[in-house]
């Protein structure tokens, strides 16, 4: 068991390192030196010597030495300096993270609730048209552009119904629409996998055996089917956590909120590679960590995997 855990942790670290290296290489390939673009502007009136000093400050030396020092920096929590504002990247991240964390965690909870509600209602409904209608909801959710959904929600709830003020309003009021915008697309894959898993479990031969014991429909669904269907759903739910960071880019832009997504957008606009690198590595780290946790949880939820692990 511990062996398995250690090897999984090693693999996770390897993937994270590779993600860091790949994004580092990609972002260094940048045509046109982003530092030059920014500081060569004649209006700033910097001399070539000053530019060279700035470059040294941003540690632009030999490529390999650069890479090693950046990697060492990431390992010790020093993420370099933003090209855009000159502030340490750590500071900018620390500023942006709490806002996004609040938004993302609320959205994730809501997404899981929506998904579970859809999948359970679909599998419990006896009429086939109702079931079909419920099951097509996730495909609709997944087809809606998040930015458009956000705009639509603002239009309906802020401008038409005037339930949520456009500017001002309480913390909660400001959070409702962005959370909904972020949650809807993420709930779709979870609902789809859960519904499919429930179908799959219903087709297992042990279900009629439970029914033959005299169990009610709800008993079968809750105590057996749901319990078995959780396993594949957990994997997908874990995968979507990484998507939350990407989704926050759109959501925060639409609602004009500060946060990680907004920071990312600014970094792309300013070709601020250190910030972008930090954001990508952060997203990869969240993804890798969550997959690791899911992997560790699996044998606890499915006794068959205990032996395999």
């Amino acid at each position: 068991m511990t062996r398995h855990l250690l090897s999984r942790a090693g693999q996770a670290a390897l993937v994270l390192w590779a993600a860091f290296t790949a994004s580092y290489v990609l972002l260094q390939l940048l045509p046109g030196d982003s530092i030059l673009i920014k500081f060569q502007n004649p209006e700033l009136g910097l001399s070539p010597q000053q530019i060279a000093e700035i470059r040294a400050h941003y540690a632009a030396g030999s490529p390999l030495a650069d890479y090693v020092s950046t990697l060492a920096g990431f390992l010790t929590g020093r993420l370099g300096y933003s090209i855009d504002t000159g502030a340490p990247v750590v500071e900018r991240l620390a500023e942006a993270l709490p806002e996004t964390a609040r938004l993302a965690s609320a959205a994730f909870l809501l997404a899981v609730l929506i998904a579970v509600a859809i999948a359970f209602a679909a599998s419990y409904s006896r009429t086939s048209w109702l079931r079909g209608a419920l099951l097509s909801v996730p495909s609709l959710f997944i087809s809606v552009p998040a930015f458009w959904l956000g705009i639509l929600l603002i239009q309906i709830f802020s401008f038409r119904l005037k339930l949520v003020p456009v500017i001002g309003g309480s913390e909660l009021q400001q959070l409702v629409l962005p959370v909904l915008t972020l949650a809807v697309p993420i709930s779709a894959p979870i609902a789809q996998v859960l519904a499919r898993a429930i179908d799959h479990v219903y087709a297992q031969p042990f279900v009629p055996v439970v029914e033959a014991k005299g169990a009610t429909r709800w008993w079968v669904l809750w105590r057996h089917v749901a319990r078995n269907a959780v396993l594949p759903t957990l994997t997908v739910a874990g995968l979507t956590l990484g998507e939350l960071i990407a989704g926050s880019v759109v959501t925060e832009t639409v609602f004009g909120r500060a946060g990680l997504g907004r920071l990312t957008e600014q970094a792309v606009n300013a070709q601020d590679t250190p910030v972008m690198l930090a954001v990508v590595v952060l997203a990869a780290a969240v993804f890798v960590l969550v997959s690791l946790i899911v992997d560790v949880l699996f044998p606890i939820l499915d006794p068959r995997l205990k032996a395999a692990a």
């Binding site: 031969p205 009629p208 014991k213 005299g214 169990a215 009610t216 429909r217 057996h224 006794p303 068959r304």
Partner: protein
């Protein structure tokens, strides 16, 4: 008055009739066997009694009465809600497939206790005590440990015992057993059937035994109901039906069932030269850090133009041996010699394998014509016209009509598919055919036709067969010589007559004891 009474019950799937007016009855304490081939409607009929049909099925007509006088219930048209009080409490179910019939994420104890809880038991300690009693009663050693284990930690036979414990936990008046032992090895099958008999005698439970296996039905039932295409073709006392079958179909079924028809032994021709020689064959697999010997020093010879059977239960190493002989697996050590077989790719012109599952071994996207012609194309035998003529000839040989040429495998029946697989195996003109459980998935009447076909082909083409099977009755019918395998070793080899009439090894005796009397 009978315990269970079905009158003219009709069931359809999506509006298509599958069961046409079936009537049968079960007396208290009696065992009634419903026999039939796949698609005969036997399982549908049984499941209709307790309302466990799939969502697209409906009971269209007929009445179902259940219970002793005074407590008699008319189950016809009962809702799920009302049937729940009967399910588990008054009618138990022993399902078909022990491997997947228990919830994989719950302990065995919890799943037995569940039937008590569903029917209103709340006292945890009493439930626990009853669960341990039941586990001991169905013959599982160390019930305390078993109750805490998960299904995957038990063997197939043990799981079926757990399912039996669930079925009898509330001492129901009737148990519906749906192919209760079909997925089990013969020796395990016998012990499980003995257990069911004991429990029935003890509790006075009646049983509706659904099975495709006439041997099981003959040995274990008081009355026999023979079904075909959703209709009852004959019913009566078991001994009477077996001795003097009235319906033509019953006669055919009895004639075709290898378990009941004692045909003469096929004695090997004297002094034929060996076509296959296997010497000290070993195959090891790595399981984690340990090596596991699937095949452990196997040696035998097969004379040219004869059939040698490799018999054993699951896990005995017989399939691994076959795969090494056809060179789909490399031996860890030892040697296989096939007389006259070239090396390299041309080996496959000489030696062919027929798989167990005819559906899986045919590419679903190809037509039958393309499938049978494939070896000809691969070896570049003949031009287009010659190949077409050869395919037509092969279809004639395996008695398939010409119009299957353009059809796909899914449009064919199981027996037809296996004929296609045999035609393909014959295409390049091989001398040795390895048949891996080639008739095991087929219904008895279909199985009998394929066995006849194999015998005829051997006679016409002088083929040598290596016949891998778990079914002793089939082996007795088709093979000249037999090797009995257990745990990777051959425990006994001899002519079929010797092995069946004078078994020398205990394991062989045990295997033979597990098949019905008449074949021995």
């Amino acid at each position: 008055m009978s315990l269970l009474d079905l009158r003219d019950v009709a069931v359809s799937y999506d509006g298509r009739r599958a069961v046409h007016g079936v009537s049968l009855s079960v007396e208290p304490g009696e065992v009634v066997a419903v026999v039939g081939e796949s698609g005969s409607g036997k399982t549908t009929t049984a499941h209709a009694i307790i309302g466990l049909l799939p969502g697209n099925a409906s009971v269209d007509a007929g009445t179902i009465h259940f219970g002793p006088p005074g407590r008699r219930l008319d189950l016809t048209g009962w809702s799920d809600r009302r049937l729940r009080s009967v399910r588990g409490a008054r009618i138990g179910l022993v399902p078909q497939d022990p491997a997947n019939s228990l919830d994989p994420v719950k302990t065995v104890g919890a799943q037995i206790g569940e039937v008590l809880r569903v029917h209103g038991q709340r006292d945890r300690r009493r439930i626990r005590g009853r669960v341990l009693d039941l586990l001991a009663r169905v013959g599982l050693p160390d019930p305390e440990t078993r109750a805490r284990q998960y299904p995957h930690e038990l063997s197939g036979g043990m799981r079926q015992r757990v399912l039996i414990a669930i079925a009898v936990a509330l001492r129901p008046e009737l148990v519906i057993a749906d192919e209760p032992t079909s997925a089990l090895d013969v020796t395990v099958q016998r012990r499980v059937l003995d257990l069911i008999d004991d429990l029935r005698a003890e509790y006075g439970t009646a049983m509706l035994l659904v099975t495709h296996d006439l041997g099981v039905a003959a040995g274990r039932s008081d009355r026999l109901v023979v079904m075909k295409d959703g209709r009852v073709v004959e019913q009566g006392p078991t001994a009477g039906v077996l001795a003097a079958p009235e319906a033509g179909y019953t006669r055919r079924l009895l004639g075709d069932a290898p378990a009941l028809s004692a045909r003469p032994f096929r004695d090997p021709p004297p002094a034929a030269r060996p076509a296959i020689t296997v010497r000290d064959l070993v195959k090891e697999f790595r399981v984690g850090r340990r090596a596991f010997r699937a095949v452990d020093g196997v040696s035998f010879e097969v004379a040219r133009g004869t059939t040698h059977a490799l018999v054993g239960e699951s896990g005995s190493g017989k399939t691994t041996t076959a795969r090494m002989i056809v060179r789909f697996a490399r031996p860890t050590s030892g040697k296989v010699t096939i007389a006259g077989a070239p090396d390299g790719r041309d080996f496959r012109r000489h030696v062919q394998l027929v798989h167990q599952n005819p559906y899986g071994s045919l590419d679903p996207r190809q037509s039958i014509g393309e499938i049978v012609a494939e070896p000809l194309r691969n070896f570049g035998l003949g031009d287009r016209a010659a190949r077409r003529a050869r395919v037509a000839e092969l279809l004639d040989r395996v008695a398939l009509p010409r119009d299957v040429l353009t059809r796909r495998p899914r449009e064919l029946s199981g027996g037809q598919r296996q004929r296609v697989a045999i035609a393909r195996a014959l295409a390049a003109g091989p001398e040795v055919l390895v048949l891996d459980e080639a008739v095991s998935a087929l219904d008895v009447t279909v199985q009998a036709r394929i066995l006849d076909l194999l015998e005829r082909l051997q006679h016409d083409l002088g083929l040598t067969y290596l016949f891998i099977s778990h079914d002793l009755a089939v082996v007795r019918q088709i093979s000249h010589t037999v090797s009995v395998m257990s745990e990777g070793r051959i425990v006994e080899t001899g002519t079929t007559r010797q092995v069946f009439t004078e078994p020398r090894h205990d394991y062989t005796r045990e295997l033979l004891a597990a098949i019905p009397e008449r074949v021995r």
